[in-house]
């Protein structure tokens, strides 16, 4: 190569072009620490002690905007400096780790709002005691719902997170497709009922598949697997919540049932191609595209169909969870939480802001626009007005205000951080993959998964 091919002028010209292209962004280093743009948000710079709020991205942008606007208005009214940001908890799942780092570094946000496993955060010791706030809110708006909120948000008799909204997963079905075969989806009570009906409505030639539940690593997949195991009588832990009892004939039976569902020729017509690799978004996309008949999901799929005027919305029925093989129905709701982190600089202001956010004047519009994804977290806020907004909200209310607690994987023990780590390690989906690929028998895969859970518990200080 001849270095003279490029003259100094060439180089300068190249650099100059680059500079022009980037002109819009070029700044002198002196302003680097500042907000380089005139944002529409009042985000004053630098001053220590400004109110810092980080909130989750919502399925409905309008709800997110309402949250944002409420906080901005509050700060303006009080004359406070504000830094408000969003966090998407779904993609990398690193919000708790980030908050841990912030607490350890001594600069956590004052207020966080997200949908998280609170026992894990309590075990990391990064949350402030907020019992006084929950007591005051319960005083104003009734007890916190769902009933599991207490087990998730409390530790040693103290609240460490404030229930802000509630939501529940549900089963969604295309009632038109089932009705065409003479099936009323609300009659499909058990896992067996649903599987058989899904097979009946399937028509692969027309790209329609009845079954839309994956067993791949994803919130929906893990929820389906553990629900199925428990329906068959299997359990993850004993009543103390600290001893692993996963490896049992009941669990093996459930795994055999799922193996048949996902590998047998009999059920092949109801399985959409690629269901083994679905993530949390896949079943939504497929359902919205009208290719699957039934799925287990958060109401996002329902809400999105409604918002976009997707024709599947009119044909969607919301169903309760399948009953267990012993005939019992166990359903749980969950919460979005407001959290004040240890070391936060403006705790009192954050608490005052929380009352403001839950003031019905600010709160009710979020519920009304939340499409079932943002339901009230206090009994007294379930008004007639809320129920009138959507006919299926009554089903959500049934689920969210049920009297008997269902603690999910730890049931009947209350949830704890160790149980929360089982799904984080994708143990059940790996177990199902071992079975469906033929790498292990159901019994071997259950034993393998049991050993991994034991390892997590022992490592976390619960000897087996």
């Amino acid at each position: 190569m001849n270095r003279k091919n490029m003259s100094r002028r060439d180089f300068l010209r190249a650099a100059g072009t680059g500079a022009v292209v980037l002109g819009s962004g070029l700044m002198v280093p002196g302003v680097l620490a500042q907000d380089p743009t005139a944002t529409p948000l009042p985000l004053p710079e630098g001053a220590a002690g400004k109110l810092t709020v980080i909130h989750r991205t919502e399925y409905f942008e309008v709800v997110q905007t309402m949250f944002h606007d409420t906080v901005v208005k509050y700060a303006q009214d009080k004359g406070l400096e504000l830094d408000i940001s969003t966090a998407n908890p779904e993609v990398f799942g690193d919000f708790p780790a980030k908050m841990l780092a912030a607490v350890q570094a001594g600069n956590p946000p004052d207020l966080g709002y997200n949908q998280l496993n609170i026992p894990s955060l309590i075990s990391l010791d990064i949350l402030e005691d907020v019992s006084d706030v929950v007591a005051e809110l319960s005083n104003r708006y009734g007890v916190a719902v769902p009933v599991e909120a207490q087990a998730n948000g409390m530790f040693d008799g103290k609240w460490y997170a404030i229930p802000f909204m509630s939501y529940t997963g549900a089963w969604f079905a295309r009632k038109d497709k089932f009705e065409a075969k003479g099936i009323n989806v609300q009659d499909l009570k058990t896992f067996d009922d649903r599987r058989d009906a899904c097979l009946e409505v399937s028509n692969p030639d027309e790209n329609f598949y009845g079954w839309g539940m994956t067993i791949n690593r994803s919130g929906d997949g893990h929820g389906f697997i553990s629900g199925c195991i428990q329906a068959f009588g299997g359990r993850f832990v004993d009543d103390s919540g600290l001893k692993v009892i996963f490896n049992s004939p009941e669990t093996v039976d459930a795994v055999e049932w799922m193996k048949e569902t996902y590998t047998s020729d009999k059920y092949a017509p109801m399985r959409p191609p690629g269901i083994e690799s679905w993530t949390d978004t896949s079943n939504n996309e497929q359902y919205l595209a009208g290719t699957i008949g039934m799925t287990l999901n958060q109401p996002s799929v329902y809400a999105k169909a409604k918002a976009d005027g997707n024709p599947v919305f009119e044909q969607t029925a919301v169903m309760h969870a399948p009953t267990w093989n012993n005939g019992e129905l166990h359903e749980a709701g969950a919460n979005g939480w407001l959290m004040i982190f240890k070391g936060a600089k403006n705790i009192d202001v954050a608490k005052d802001l929380i009352y403001n956010l839950l003031d019905p004047a600010n709160y009710s519009p979020m519920v009304a626009n939340g499409g079932g994804l943002f339901m009230p977290a206090y009994e007294g806020l379930w008004t007639e007005e809320v129920l009138a907004a959507d006919p299926n909200f009554a089903v959500f209310k049934d689920i969210l205000l049920h009297p008997e607690p269902y603690f999910g994987m730890s049931h009947p023990a209350p949830p704890n951080a160790l149980v929360g780590q089982i799904d984080a390690a994708s143990i059940t989906s790996q177990m199902m993959a071992n079975v469906t690929t033929g790498a292990m028998t159901a019994a071997e895969a259950v034993e393998d998964a049991h050993n991994k859970i034991v390892a997590i518990f022992e490592e976390g200080g619960a000897p087996q």
Partner: protein
């Protein structure tokens, strides 16, 4: 500066580096230490603070677990490492990682080499074609993953219908769903993303080979295959080794691309070790076991880094030892074995070449003795057609995702959701672009990205140039070690350094400011830039500087006025590399910036996702617009990119 700027020529000669005065400090610290240490000091400070300190932190972390019952941190020594040996997930993750890396590397190398050989031949529109082959480089990982997930979709993706029409498959294939296909499918994406790296480096290496060697071989009657085996391959030996080593390390530590496409699934079919470590540490909040998982692979990478460093500073090794070391002897044996292997691989090609020659001689009518059966023009036409046909296959592979991104960005949400008009928007809409610009902070993100990328690139290139100059020109104690330590940044996935890094950046008062990114980006931009600059500096005759110093310039002036301007092509090419990487960086930006108004584009794209619903149209429109500045620079500067890498940098 040790050398006085204005003294008599005689005095300067006495103090010039070529004629050193052997003082005690020079004996201990090396001949040029006074000059060299200030040159490398900025890099050392940056690396010590932002790589080694968090690194040590992470090692200590790997020896602890969190007792969630008592809510305390417990020291467990090597307990986390021992547990790994019994962990079936870990064993399968290591297997996946090795398969992923080796398969991906092999394909990238073969494809890269083939493409480069074609691009280096006489070809119409050669520079446009070369530019097209570089396109995957500019697409951010987030977008690549999303685009391929959409293409691979078994029911409505773009791939299945095409393969069905070609008769290659007869049913809908779940590319990412079938445990047997998921890993190969992910490998294909890694290959797609990695082709530009191989293309650029190998192309630069090829240009550095003396053409006279080929001409001489042709005169001697050597066949194309023989010329490739005995001139091209040996000539590229150095660049091949360095490219493969760098590529091995980055492929081995791949995280974002796979995680965004499959999350490690189905089951654990694509769970590589970095995903397992991330899953434990960040998602499961089991930092100790996660860090141990990440560090478990460090010895392997460390060995590779050791070899890479040897290649990066060959003259240092030569200086350290005059006789052939055992390692070199082992290397020679390995080299001979590799040569044998290459000979074996090339036998079938040579056979095919001979058979086709024989075929033509039989089929085509014989002319006079000694006159070729095909005229030169005919031979050129056949050769050109076959080369273009082969290149077309690779071009389709490279360009299809762009076509997919473009058409998706012009569809309405409902078209995308309902998978209507898959291959062509009907009707076309600019709505995605409009909403992106007016309804989202896209413009803010764009400006932030431009600011961070430009500044961190400038810092990286400046420090690399200084460091590379010291490492390639000056003799000082610690130079060899420094070259190796520079590469430690590649030792483990960056995702696991972020907790300690976060604390450090907070202590520095820069967390949640653009400085956090401007300071951390050079840690991964500098090693490669330094390597390229070192090679280039080596190719610049040292006499030019010596002459300047005789005329009164000090070392820095000689560097600034003489060497640096001569290294302009290399500066430009490393600037492009660094800028592209900084422009597309995701993880650090994701972690260190929380204020929306300070976020960069790759993170912003992810913010467009609401819950578990992907706004495909907006995402694709955003990625296209995001690529514009990088494409603009590449179009103009592409030829310098290769030239900058060529001169000496890749000769070894």
């Amino acid at each position: 500066m040790s050398t006085p700027a204005k003294t008599s020529p005689r005095t300067v000669v006495a103090q010039a580096p070529s004629l050193p005065k052997r003082s005690r400090s020079n004996t201990i610290l090396g001949r040029d230490w006074r000059v060299a240490y200030p040159f490398i000091l900025p890099i050392v400070i940056l690396m010590a603070l932002l790589i080694f300190w968090p690194f040590i932190n992470a090692i200590l972390m790997s020896m602890t677990t969190r007792n969630v019952v008592t809510r305390t941190e417990v020291y467990v020594g090597l307990g986390n490492y021992e547990r790994l040996l019994r962990d079936s997930d870990f064993i399968s993750a290591v297997g996946n990682t090795l398969i992923f890396t080796i398969a991906s590397l092999s394909v990238k190398f073969v494809v890269g080499m083939t493409v480069v050989l074609i691009l280096n031949s006489k070809l119409p529109f050669r520079s446009i074609l070369s530019g097209l082959m570089l396109l995957p480089w500019i697409v951010p990982e987030v977008v690549t993953a999303l685009a391929f997930r959409s293409i691979y979709d078994p029911i409505f993706g773009g791939l299945n219908p095409i393969l069905m029409q070609l008769g290659l498959i007869n049913r809908q294939v779940a590319w990412l769903g079938d445990p047997g296909l998921a890993l190969p499918s992910v490998i294909a994406v890694n290959v797609w993303k990695g082709i530009p790296f191989y293309t650029i480096l190998l192309l630069a290496g090829l240009k550095a080979i003396d053409r006279e060697q080929y001409e001489a071989a042709s005169v001697d009657g050597a066949s194309t295959i023989k010329r490739f085996r005995h001139i091209t391959l040996p000539g590229l030996r150095y660049v091949i080794v360095v490219t493969l080593l760098l590529s091995f390390i980055s492929t081995f530590n791949s995280f974002g691309l796979i995680y965004l496409m499959t999350g490690g699934g189905p089951g654990g079919a694509t769970r590589v070790y970095s995903i397992l470590a991330y899953e434990k540490a960040i998602i499961g909040l089991r930092f100790g076991p996660g860090a141990a998982t990440a560090f478990s692979m460090a010895p392997l990478i460390a060995v590779l880094i050791f070899f890479l460093a040897r290649f990066m500073r060959p003259e240092q090794n030569a200086m350290q030892t005059d006789k052939v070391s055992r390692l070199d002897a082992a290397g020679a044996i390995l080299g001979r074995l590799l040569g044998l292997f290459v000979d074996l691989v090339l036998i079938p090609f040579e056979f095919v070449s001979n058979v086709s020659g024989w075929f033509f001689s039989m089929v085509l009518p014989s002319k006079e003795e000694g006159v070729p059966r095909l005229s030169r023009n005919q031979r050129d036409a056949v050769s050109l057609t076959s080369r273009l046909a082969l290149l077309a296959v690779f071009l389709i592979f490279v360009l299809f995702p762009f076509y997919w991104i473009i058409i998706t960005s012009f569809k309405t949400d409902l078209q995308i959701q309902r998978f209507d008009s898959i291959y062509w928007p009907h009707p076309w809409t600019f709505e995605q672009y409009r909403s992106l610009i007016y309804d989202t902070p896209f413009v803010t993100w764009f400006k932030n990205t431009a600011l961070v990328a430009t500044t961190s690139t400038a810092i990286s290139v400046m420090l690399s140039a200084l460091g590379a100059y010291a490492l390639s020109r000056l003799k000082f104690r610690g130079g060899g070690m420094m070259t190796t330590l520079l590469l430690v940044t590649y030792l483990l996935p960056g995702t696991l350094l972020f907790i300690p890094l976060y604390r450090i950046l907070t202590d520095l008062g820069v967390i949640n400011t653009h400085w956090a990114l401007i300071l951390t980006y050079p840690t991964f931009l500098m090693p490669f830039a330094t390597w390229v600059m070192m090679g280039y500096f080596r190719s610049i005759p040292v006499e030019l500087e010596e002459a300047a110093m005789i005329d009164g310039a000090n070392r820095f002036t000689a560097f600034w006025r003489i060497t640096l301007p001569l290294a302009a092509p290399a500066l430009l090419s490393v600037t492009l590399f660094a800028f592209t990487n900084a422009w597309n960086e995701f993880l650090f930006a994701f972690v260190f910036i929380t204020s929306d108004s300070l976020k960069t584009l790759p993170v912003g794209l992810q913010l467009l996702v609401f819950g578990d619903i992907y706004p495909w149209g907006q995402l694709m429109a955003a990625s296209l617009m995001m690529a514009v500045p990088v494409v603009a620079i590449y179009i103009f500067a592409q030829r310098f990119l290769v030239e900058g890498l060529t001169a000496g940098g890749l000769k070894g």
